[in-house]
């Protein structure tokens, strides 16, 4: 999957660092130094350009060979009563290897992004939803309602790539697209149209979103609302949004599970999704959940097809058991249920393991630093930089090939975890 156009310049490079997985990056590589030359943004530049430092594994802070580190991890898992495989910042084959290892070591598996991802997954498992994907939005959206999310801070190129292309496929004037923010206001001007028309912003606190969404759904259903304001928003403004959703030809409602960061936000998302179903009785409208960076979507997809269940699945009974509450990794660590934590974070040096008394093993991106040195640290390659791979976008439909850009010699997460599995 390497696609070298010259010695050091790569075109059409896909970014696994952001859930929309832009794949038009131009990247220059000099030795181990990677520079995004075109179509970069703060998220992708940080992702590609973070320098490589560590080259060799450590056991209790002492340099060790990869074989020694692998044997040490295998021994820890063999003696573990309750291992947890956490983090799960990895690509397709890393996720496959982690699942195989969880199965044989009777571990529980969870991802560092699950709190956010499960706000959507719980809705899927309880009532389902109607959603769309990025290319569909790029060509069809006439009304974009953004709920409780500042898109550009997490997805800097969302508007440029998805909402304001030069041309849409069905003769729509792109400039005519209407953007409404409900909840958080945008942190920049990315949502302003090419012609200079800013998005409409109807602000409220996150804490008010459950109530605001309930009332909006009621208004869409034609129910009378007595209150004049809801969460500080005039009910008439919400009625205006309801009318626009009903008259749009292809409305899209988007949110980020990560940014709807409050207790039981899944209920708000469920309200959005049920409202979308109701709007579809007369016109078209779809959800677009944003998220999915650094393997978030990928690991849930792989886990589902290999075990039937997404993350938060335990193999301790020698078969998959799913429980989104009991198998939440952080809960298990907080309650002292875990004796060995195997933490995988191959994309991001910031994805450090949580502080814990459990013996900690880290497969991390080179350059990761620790408050407390883990029992074992193996610097692993970054999928899409040090080795080829594949990752899913936020829509869980499109997966992109990731290119190998340099020969760092770092092993992949798949290599390490497969070696550990075989050592067991």
């Amino acid at each position: 999957m390497t696609d070298k156009q010259s010695d050091s310049i790569f075109h059409d490079v896909a970014s696994p660092f952001c859930g929309i997985a832009s794949d038009d990056l131009v990247v220059e590589v000099n030795g181990n130094t990677v520079t995004v030359k075109e179509n970069g943004d703060p998220v992708t530049r940080h992702g590609f350009e973070s320098p490589m430092t560590d080259l060799s594994p450590r056991i209790k802070g002492q340099e060790a060979t990869l074989d020694e580190a692998v044997s040490h991890i295998a021994a820890l898992l063999k003696n573990s009563k309750q291992p947890l495989i956490g983090g799960m910042g990895t690509d397709l084959n890393g996720a496959r290897a982690a699942m195989a290892l969880a199965d044989i070591s009777r571990a529980t598996i969870d991802s560092q992004f699950s709190d956010a991802a499960f706000r959507n997954i719980l809705v899927l498992q309880d009532s389902g939803y109607m959603t769309t994907t990025l290319t569909e939005v790029r060509n069809r959206v006439d009304l974009l309602l953004v709920v409780g999310t500042d898109i550009e801070s997490s997805f800097p190129r969302f508007f440029e790539r998805i909402i304001w292309p030069e041309e849409s496929m069905f003769g729509q004037q792109v400039e005519s697209r209407e953007i409404i923010y409900l909840g958080k206001k945008p942190s920049g001007q990315a949502s302003t149209s090419p012609g200079g028309r800013p998005a409409e912003v109807i602000e409220c606190d996150d804490a008010c979103l459950p109530e605001v969404m309930s009332v909006l759904r009621a208004l869409v259903k034609g129910k009378k609302v007595q209150a004049e304001t809801v969460g500080g928003i005039a009910a008439a403004d919400l009625a205006g949004i309801a009318e626009k959703l009903k008259s749009a030809k292809y409305g899209v409602i988007t949110w980020s599970g990560f940014q709807l960061n409050y207790a039981h936000a899944e209920v708000t998302i469920q309200n959005i999704c049920e409202m979308i179903k109701e709007i579809n009785h007369t016109t078209r409208c779809n959800g677009l959940p944003l998220g999915g960076k650094e393997g978030d979507t990928t690991v849930n997809a792989v886990s589902s097809w290999q075990s039937g269940y997404p993350m938060r699945t335990s193999f301790s009974r020698n078969m998959p058991d799913y429980d989104p509450y009991m198998n939440r990794g952080q809960r298990m660590l907080d309650e002292g249920e875990v004796d060995v934590l195997l933490w995988v974070s191959s994309f991001n040096t910031d994805g450090r393991p949580p502080a814990t008394d459990a013996t900690t093993v880290v497969l991390g991106r080179s350059g990761m630093t620790f408050d407390q040195e883990p029992e074992v640290f193996i610097p692993v390659g970054v999928p899409g930089i040090d080795h080829s791979g594949r990752t899913f976008r936020c829509d869980s439909v499109v997966s992109v090939p990731l290119k190998k850009l340099r020969d760092s010699g770092l092993p992949s997460t798949y290599d390490v975890l497969t070696a550990v599995e075989q050592a067991l």
């Binding site: 929309i20 769309t132 569909e136 779809n286 997809a301 020698n318 078969m319």
Partner: protein
């Protein structure tokens, strides 16, 4: 290593062999001639046993986005059927939407050695292959889905010539690593995005002014002219709609003699007679199939119980969503390429409609004369999980069992069928034709589905048990590429099957408009859309088998 299967009763319809005692020799994964020196390394006594080639499921939803949505959506269904890890097998679970590993194990345990995913959305093909890569033992492959993709509809609206369309089809098959071409509710998935709620055979997509009939003709011609062995695989208009038998009859006429495979025909064989305004159209449909030799069908039999329907047909799945059981469902518009809908469903024997669906499927099986042109499917998991195949085989082979079952169903539905008066019972030869020789021929699998010298040694050995459900649930032996993978109904070895594909030639000029289309409208680069051979081979476990084309047409 030469293995001899001694004294089995061979049923091999590809060679016209019906219950003839023959020895079979296996070397290096192939069936070979008897050694001239008589030396063998291993002999397995299969005297009295029935020997067929490994079964082929030519339409089963085993991989890709909608299947995985179904899996994630149904934790309660999995919890009823957990599978423990063993020395040999990974753990897994699932009944309606089983995990990939469980899928491979279960198929092999039933004597199946290949399964084909019929709805590979080109934009999601990479995922379909990832999942099939994680499905052990069986061979696999997929049919790429076109017909609601904007690129094709733009070509048709611009009235581009057939060569250009052939080129696009060939390019798609090649770069999605597909074995055949599928169309689902032709143009209808696209029309739903423009808020059309139904699309009859001659109804136009409001934006493109193109009808399903035209799409079927264009795509069927493309497949024929490219020499792709498997005819266009058609999930027609109006799935599940009472009265859709007329659409189906029109579809058969409208293809004007070109080869066409109508899939899960049961769901497209409904009339509107009777108090319930829902009746069987099976007799008329079967008669049309018997008359039109260019038509093949698989049935999509329903069986009673909980399952999940997963389809590319977002338009019809949205319409069916109020029947979801449990009450949760997903519909998606996908990438200006296609769509999908996932709706859990419970078929009930005391429901008039469900009971009649069961009868319509069986009537179709029993009234289509030629077992080479009808295939045994439940459209897994849409009509029932594939694990119910042995039960279905018993329904076909055992009239008294069938009529006993029938007599327990919704009483008014019983009045609406003449199923009880049909005497036909499928023979073992018919079953072998439908599930082996016919399927391999239909898909163009040169070396599968038969037991001739040179064939891949995919072989299933059964005990001739009078209870056909028992017989087909638990073969004595299954060999995959010559290796014994099942013994006495139990898995004893895990192997990894190949991925069957076709590679029709295309003219690279098609990449010019495609490049521009991807750059202008898509959120993925054309180069990143293409699935390389390396991705199929992946960690080394996968492999590609390129099947030969028929004598082709214009390209």
């Amino acid at each position: 290593m030469l293995t001899k299967l001694t004294g089995g009763r061979v049923i091999d319809p590809e060679h016209g062999i019906n219950d003839v005692v023959r020895d079979i020799y296996i070397r290096d994964g192939r069936i070979v001639e008897a050694p001239s020196d008589g030396k063998i390394d291993e002999e397995i006594d299969v005297r009295g046993k029935i020997i067929m080639s490994g079964a082929i499921d030519m339409h089963t939803h085993i991989g890709g986005g909608k299947v995985n949505i179904a899996r994630t959506m149904l934790p309660e269904d999995h919890a009823e059927s957990l599978l423990e890890r063993t020395e040999l097998m990974r753990s897994g679970c699932g009944h309606a939407a089983p995990s990939t590993l469980t899928t491979g194990y279960r198929y092999a345990e039933m004597g199946y050695t290949a399964g084909f995913e019929p709805a590979v959305l080109p934009i999601n093909a990479r995922q379909a292959h990832m999942e099939m890569h994680d499905t052990p033992i069986i061979d696999k492959g997929g049919y790429a889905m076109l017909g609601s993709d904007d690129f094709l509809l733009r070509m048709m609206a611009a009235n581009e010539d057939q060569d250009a369309i052939n080129n696009y089809v060939a390019w798609t098959l090649t770069h999605t690593q597909a074995l055949g071409l599928k169309v689902v509710n032709p143009g209808g998935i696209n029309a739903f995005k423009f808020n059309q709620r139904k699309l009859d055979l001659d109804e136009k997509n409001t934006f493109y002014n193109v009808s399903p009939r035209e799409i079927l003709q264009r795509l069927s011609r493309a497949v024929t002219e490219l020499g792709v062995p498997h005819p266009l695989h058609v999930h027609g208009c109006n799935l599940g709609v009472p009265g859709n038998k007329d659409t189906t009859l029109d579809t058969i006429q409208g293809i004007e003699g070109l080869p066409m495979h109508l899939t899960h025909i049961q769901f497209h064989s409904y009339g509107t007679e009777g108090d319930f305004k829902f009746s069987s159209g099976a007799a008329e449909i079967a008669e049309a199939i018997n008359r039109n030799k260019n038509i093949t069908v698989d049935v999509g039999q329903i069986l009673f119980g909980q399952t999940v329907t997963a389809s590319g047909d977002s338009m019809r799945q949205f319409a069916g969503a109020p029947h979801a059981h449990p009450n949760k469902w997903v519909c998606m518009d996908i990438e200006c390429d296609a769509g999908c809908g996932v709706v859990p469903f419970k078929y009930r024997d005391q429901s008039f409609v469900n009971a009649l669906q069961w009868m319509i499927g069986l009537e179709t099986f029993l009234m289509v004369d030629d077992p080479w042109r009808i295939f045994l499917t439940t459209d897994h998991p849409n009509g029932a999980p594939f694990t119910s195949y042995p039960h279905l085989i018993k329904l076909l082979m055992d009239k008294s069992f069938r009529n006993d079952m029938l007599s327990t169903l919704h009483p008014e539905a019983q009045q609406a069928t003449h199923l009880a008066s049909i005497d036909r019972e499928y023979t073992l030869y018919d079953i072998a034709t439908m599930t082996r020789a016919g399927a391999a021929r239909l898909l163009g699998l040169a070396d599968r589905g038969h037991l001739g010298v040179g064939a891949a040694a995919d072989i299933t050995v059964y005990t001739d048990h009078p209870d056909r459900e028992k017989m087909f649930s638990s073969p004595d032996y299954v060999f995959k590429d010559g290796q014994m993978v099942v013994k006495n109904g139990q898995l004893i070895k895990i192997t990894w099957g190949t991925t069957h594909v076709v590679k029709p030639q295309y003219d690279a000029s098609i990449e010019k408009p495609l490049q521009s289309y991807f750059d202008k409208y898509h959120t993925l680069k054309m180069g990143n859309f293409k699935i390389s051979d390396d991705e199929i081979i992946d960690d080394g476990r996968g492999s590609l088998t390129v099947q030969p084309l028929k004598q082709g047409g214009k390209l």
